[in-house]
């Protein structure tokens, strides 16, 4: 048990693509416990991904239930998460435990459909939107070696509130804006 060191930019290991979890054993449970302890020990982060502590398997933790007025599924431990559908897009401001003292505007899909496994390997499926969907996309990016600073958009492009085009999400819509992401539609 213990709090692990958080990798910070420009650590090259943050660009590594993580491998799927194959063994749902006690070692995995312990690593998840340490990941969560590390998340809770730092500034108020709503999520953390395994690669941020130098563990390069596909595990993320997301919990946006502490944010007032945000629709959510509670505390989530997502093993081998896959986004299967993106819909709409919007700009929001993000920061990261691995990028201290910097925030920037990032485009994310408004709604996603997600599959994953729980820490014992049981299949999970979620539909998410808004802030929770943003948090999950941010964390899954870590599994693919991407940070939010790889996606920051010019602040001056955010002059208009973005419209949501439902039809785009089905095909190349927001998914098309995920360069380098592993889970293409």
């Amino acid at each position: 048990m213990g709090i692990r060191e958080i990798l910070r930019v420009p650590d090259e290991r943050l660009k590594q693509v993580s491998t799927p979890v194959a063994r749902f054993d006690a070692v995995l449970q312990l690593a998840i416990t340490e990941l969560e302890e590390t998340r809770l020990a730092g500034p108020a982060a709503v999520g953390i991904a395994a690669p941020q502590v130098g563990w390069f398997e596909r595990v993320v933790i997301v919990d946006v239930s502490t944010k007032k007025g945000v629709y959510n599924h509670g505390h989530l431990i997502l093993v081998n998460p896959e986004i299967e559908h993106w819909e709409g897009y919007e700009i929001g401001r993000e920061g990261c435990l691995s990028v201290p003292d910097y925030t920037g505007n990032v485009i994310r899909a408004t709604r996603i459909r997600l599959t994953a496994q729980d820490p014992r390997g049981k299949p999970l499926a979620f539909e998410m939107d808004g802030y929770e969907a943003r948090a999950v996309q941010h964390e899954i990016d870590h599994l693919d070696g991407l940070l939010f600073i790889d996606r920051v958009v010019s602040r001056r492009t955010d002059l208009f509130r973005r419209k949501v085009y439902a039809a785009q999400g089905a095909g190349s819509g927001a998914g098309g804006m995920q360069p380098g992401a592993r889970q293409g539609p």
């Binding site: 401001r93 993000e94 920061g95 602040r155 509130r161």
Partner: protein, 168 residues
């Protein structure tokens, strides 16, 4: 704080940055943008050089690229960021006084502007003024909306939204 303004052309940033670096200066936070055909640079730099010394350093490149240079001593430093919690979007038919009206209403609530950008869209006959502000406020979104409510009657649409910064 170094300010440079001149007619836009390719290579300004590269020449200025190279001159400063070779002159032993460290470059910090910067805002550089093209405004109405001019290129504008506001740049925090640190180093041993005095203000007049900096102006002498930049004089040749400023003369060549037709840049006006201004140097102010500033006590800034790194890691002094404030994170905005409110976004204000303003759209109105372009006319005198939009910025004054909106920012005065906000200032009366104690709103602190961190960033303001504005542009004129539309065409020559019907210009539209668009302004985007990000800042900090301790007031609720509702009370900020109340503070700018009177502007709607003047044809100025003001949209106030919370900025929820996600840390992950």
């Amino acid at each position: 704080m170094l300010t440079l303004v001149g007619e836009d052309r390719p290579g300004i940033v590269a020449r200025v940055a190279t001159t400063l670096t070779e002159g032993g200066c460290n470059l910090g936070e910067a805002s550089m943008i093209r405004l109405g055909g001019n290129f504008t640079i506001m740049l925090m730099i640190s180093g041993e050089r005095s203000g007049p010394d900096l102006e002498r350093l930049l004089a040749p490149v400023a003369a060549e690229l037709h840049l006006r240079v201004h140097v102010d001593p500033a006590s800034g430093g790194l890691h002094r960021h404030l994170v905005p919690n409110i976004q204000v979007r303003v759209i109105g038919a372009d006319r005198a006084g939009i910025v004054a009206a909106v920012t005065t209403a906000l200032a009366q609530t104690g709103f602190n502007i961190l960033e303001l950008e504005s542009d004129v869209a539309g065409d020559a006959e019907r210009p539209v003024y668009i302004m985007n502000i990000q800042g900090c406020s301790e007031q609720t979104v509702e009370s900020l909306r109340d503070a700018v409510a009177g502007l709607h009657a003047q044809g100025i649409a003001v949209d106030i939204a919370p900025v929820e910064t996600l840390i992950g």
